[in-house]
Symmetry: D2
Subunit: 396 residues, 4 copies
Amino acid sequence: MTDLRVGMVGYAFMGAAHSQAWRTVNRVFDLPMQVKMAAICGRDELKVAAAAARLGWEAHCTNWRDLIARDDIDVIDVCTPGDSHAEIAIAALEAGKHVLCEKPLANSVAEARAMVAAAATARAGGALAMCGFNYRRVPAVTLMRQLVAAGRLGAIRHVRAVYLQDWITDPEFPLVWRLQKEKAGSGALGDIGAHIVDLTQYVTGQQITGVSALTETFIKERPLPTASSGLAASGNGTVTGPVTVDDAAVFLARLDGGAIATYEATRFAMGRKNALRVEINGSLGSLVFDLERLNELEYYDATQIAPEQGFNRILVTEAAHPYMEAWWPPGHIIGYEHSFTHEMRDFVLGIATGADPAPSFVDALGVQLVLDAVERSAGNGSSWTEVEPIYAEVSS
Amino acid sequence: MTDLRVGMVGYAFMGAAHSQAWRTVNRVFDLPMQVKMAAICGRDELKVAAAAARLGWEAHCTNWRDLIARDDIDVIDVCTPGDSHAEIAIAALEAGKHVLCEKPLANSVAEARAMVAAAATARAGGALAMCGFNYRRVPAVTLMRQLVAAGRLGAIRHVRAVYLQDWITDPEFPLVWRLQKEKAGSGALGDIGAHIVDLTQYVTGQQITGVSALTETFIKERPLPTASSGLAASGNGTVTGPVTVDDAAVFLARLDGGAIATYEATRFAMGRKNALRVEINGSLGSLVFDLERLNELEYYDATQIAPEQGFNRILVTEAAHPYMEAWWPPGHIIGYEHSFTHEMRDFVLGIATGADPAPSFVDALGVQLVLDAVERSAGNGSSWTEVEPIYAEVSS
Amino acid sequence: MTDLRVGMVGYAFMGAAHSQAWRTVNRVFDLPMQVKMAAICGRDELKVAAAAARLGWEAHCTNWRDLIARDDIDVIDVCTPGDSHAEIAIAALEAGKHVLCEKPLANSVAEARAMVAAAATARAGGALAMCGFNYRRVPAVTLMRQLVAAGRLGAIRHVRAVYLQDWITDPEFPLVWRLQKEKAGSGALGDIGAHIVDLTQYVTGQQITGVSALTETFIKERPLPTASSGLAASGNGTVTGPVTVDDAAVFLARLDGGAIATYEATRFAMGRKNALRVEINGSLGSLVFDLERLNELEYYDATQIAPEQGFNRILVTEAAHPYMEAWWPPGHIIGYEHSFTHEMRDFVLGIATGADPAPSFVDALGVQLVLDAVERSAGNGSSWTEVEPIYAEVSS
Amino acid sequence: MTDLRVGMVGYAFMGAAHSQAWRTVNRVFDLPMQVKMAAICGRDELKVAAAAARLGWEAHCTNWRDLIARDDIDVIDVCTPGDSHAEIAIAALEAGKHVLCEKPLANSVAEARAMVAAAATARAGGALAMCGFNYRRVPAVTLMRQLVAAGRLGAIRHVRAVYLQDWITDPEFPLVWRLQKEKAGSGALGDIGAHIVDLTQYVTGQQITGVSALTETFIKERPLPTASSGLAASGNGTVTGPVTVDDAAVFLARLDGGAIATYEATRFAMGRKNALRVEINGSLGSLVFDLERLNELEYYDATQIAPEQGFNRILVTEAAHPYMEAWWPPGHIIGYEHSFTHEMRDFVLGIATGADPAPSFVDALGVQLVLDAVERSAGNGSSWTEVEPIYAEVSS
């Protein structure tokens, strides 16, 4: 079996999540290639060395250009903050590497367009590019897509999607990189709002065409950080700096299939830890998903006889469900982390068979264009703002 | 004990709901006045006679002016469609009657302002006016208000409110009065959207200051109706007419205490029957309510010790809960209808003690102004639209 | 329309619940007879007079024999503690009255057998007898029965039923009549255990044939009571008496259709207020019911395609559901009290048409025999104890 | 860092689950020893070789005695069916290996006693023994234990525990080893009933002292199997054999702290996939757990003020919760498999520090004695049967 040698840039929360997926994927799925965790890259020598040991990488380095320069590495997995995605991914593609890039694809539309162009060029040489909207691979979400694609919901009328967290409600929580525009691009909008935009476009098969938006930064100054881990962090409390991203973003939208939608992304929904919740109503049925109960899907089938209609709680752990045949017996739930395991499975299969994996960089650009429209609308009195077409030349 | 003689105009869904409340209120609560169901009024002689017999009214008539003219009637209860609220309520107030008027107060801001003026004038003569936003008296909703008023949520950051129904998803459902602008004023917006506007303003103690809105009519032509009952109806299917109200309305809002909000009212959420759902997030806690489980309230208290924080499902059936001491033992749930029983209790108490009951016509005008801003924003490319002040002269 | 004149004995919790049902039934349902609330009887002159005024009865008296002696009364409704059921009901039947008797039918099998005999004799003269297991008329429970009767569950394998309350967990809660064997017959077993025995036998259409049981009295002495209302009460705390009934009863059972079952009735399940919960598993599906959410029924249909199987939460508020066409639009929930309204509806219909209403006294004797077997097993080292046949002569 | 070299016997469902845990434990937790997956053993050469490659073991063999004979192996992990536990575990302990043995400890009390004796002897030489009741290490279960141990529930009154599955409801499901008494010892009782016995004894800190039980085999003959995987299997349908274990077991119990309890283990609860559900009621509060939602715990705290009491849904994903600091940010749920990861963590820590890990073989014998009492009661007309003391000599 051919080896697939991976080099990863970044070693924090996403680095740990991706590492477990690379480590696990061949242990659970039958794949035509064997993943090798070749090297991990990070700027801090001590920390990246520790991460390599902890997470199980063969080697480590501190300059991502060295990683890309290695002939024995097939895949570059980009897990850094958004401000370096474009530079690393484009360089990797130009070097002929397959690239998996974490979401959001970039911090700006311009960067995202450049990445799409680089991916198209690299594709001719056989390199594949994929963006890591991992929630598409939660089995319940994939099942949602299957049901919609099979016409089970009829005409989609409504989408309501929220992604609610509460980890920065404390004004003393420090000014980590995710709260700095130059690193993160935006706040809740790009970090978690991007997920619900991608997920709903994927599940409905429809694109958002226009938005009306509002953003808010509730806490405008925060202490500078002294240490962080995952989403947790601490500050010293004496020196502060300005929060330059949104704490929350809400927007209305229309989709190209006729649905109307509401979206909300916030880090100030007290008590909601990772509450990505989506409800879709169609003329024949409805679907409800909650990431905090990711092994479940609620499905209302309006074609059933009237006295038996209801929201059906499907425990998505059966062999008949997407990805689940490889896992445990029914009712034995899986965790958040395996959305990544499934992502790596499909990426490896794509590389092995030469088929383009989804979401492509083009799909991810589509998300970026929605985020861009949201920011423009929010900056312009919430006025209706059309989402720029993916291929800009088409509209000009 | 003094009698309080009531005359009601309207005998359909709301008429039945109000009748059970008038019939029940003295059987459950200790009140200083005894309600007498004196007369009911409707345009169709046969139907109103049948309703009087069925619902337990002493008499019936077909002209509401006759009802108002009677000296032996103390209260006029207005349960007609919105297009006649203003005329009936103003005439009743001018005749010195106490008035209970169903929501929405009117079909236009101008009518609502006229009603407010009439109520102010009548008040000098001792007549009271109240608008029937009955959901304020669901015990769980009253409890929400108490918790917010006690500061238990801290600073309110987010409101998300939806009112979802699905009773007109079938394109063959006929063109009943609720789908005609001249009768209903608006569609989902005024019928159910009004409820979530009032409920959230009541619970938070904050007013909506501006909105960005979108409305949609999914089914633009429907068969003319042949018969209807409650929300159910049938049509003959051959002759159609235009739907002139919204099927769904969504809007973003800001509240005057600093919160941002999303609202949605729709009759196209397949599987959702009466799903008024509200979530409020504050700096110290959160509250969640669902009208389909109206005896429950979820409360997240962020001041508890960390490992024990969670959404606490309170079964709002204890003697310590609002209105519940008069009812059954704990755990024995009450139904939708008793939001009206509680409304009548408070209205009767107000009359007996001379205290103004809430929501007043001014409160209801406040709701009307929000609905008006929503319609203006929706008609103006979703652009940000400020809610007109209740006292218009203040802003001029 | 013929009047049906009712006399009720008892005016406490059950008296109030039955009163609202008698008051409401003709206001909601089309019935061939008009209920008249003729008279209410209780031992305390002042209290029963107040209850009559509060609850809406035309007259009151203090001796139930006077009530039975009245020619203008058609129905005797027995709402007293269990120790007087047999005497009152038999006297009423002998006087040719229709009798509605609250559950449990009696405090002993011997009394219950005498009541069955009296009902059989009276039936020849046209008098009907019914026992008030009101939960059969919760729409979701009736729907359960319909689904099982239609074969939708296949062969029943398992019944698990609990009725959990917590109103006497406090050792200072006083020794009310429900805790005295001579008044109540038994404790949690007869009060709430009787409900789950009847409900599961009704829904499955199967009879319990044998049991193995355990009972417990956690708090053995309590203060004597000074006042009580509903299930609430207070004591003075200085003088105590022995609790002579069970606080909790648990038992295993076999049903005559092959199912095995577990039952639990307790007043010590902290946090559970009125948690009658039943789950039934069959070879083709399962049903789950919870009285604290009495408008909902969960149904698992194993004949659906595999990836879509799940527990379907049916909101039992549709016109297509039992009893619900007469009520509010879909999604507008009803309360506990209307299990009685539905009971009165069916009793009135039975009287009007001459059809025997269920549950009959024979059905209620069947429950009594199960309770008797439970007590015998608990008193005999939990050993397997067969339920005595309803017709004792059959087995002898 | 010292290596800890593990040899595992068995490679099916439990083998896969344990393998992922051994592979993961050092990647997530800081431990003083480094696990090495040295060798895996199974009878079928081809299958065990494939399993070794798939699951990541350095080597494989077909005779477990060879595994024990290896000097370079420190730990023997026994994942075989119950009939070989005693032989393998005792041999390993005699060879000085640390032993982790899957539950149930053995197929008989005699075997379990022999294993306890062997563990005691081996302990003197430094070898540790642990039984794999993995659900103790579900964070929500550990949290339950912490709350009870801290006195938060007061005096325990009730335990109700069920473990419901439905994987053999189809009569055509074949006669796999789990349905054969000589391999599995018992059916639902030992396989899943053992889990709820251990879990409730662990959480309450109380021991079951006596039981009254009933068992049932609904399907008495099944096709012989042709292939199986996990809990799934297929049969050829023509040749059948007798099912020699229980399909379901129900029992009543008393615990030594005064609580009464009901237990049910079944593989015939249609729609329930892995529904281990436990509710514990105490004088100060209650706890509710459901393995299908294993990241959640419901806690009712009766010491809160009355209007705010309710079942509090704790999302057990905070750094403050047991084991969770090592995982993802709050709200990012973990799966079933990590109950094993936590088990291995604690076993490795025990070995590193010389501290005895729980559950010990003595604890597991305690479970075995309960199962034995259940079988004796079921075989003796459900009569009350005392659980034999762990140290038999104490009672003689």
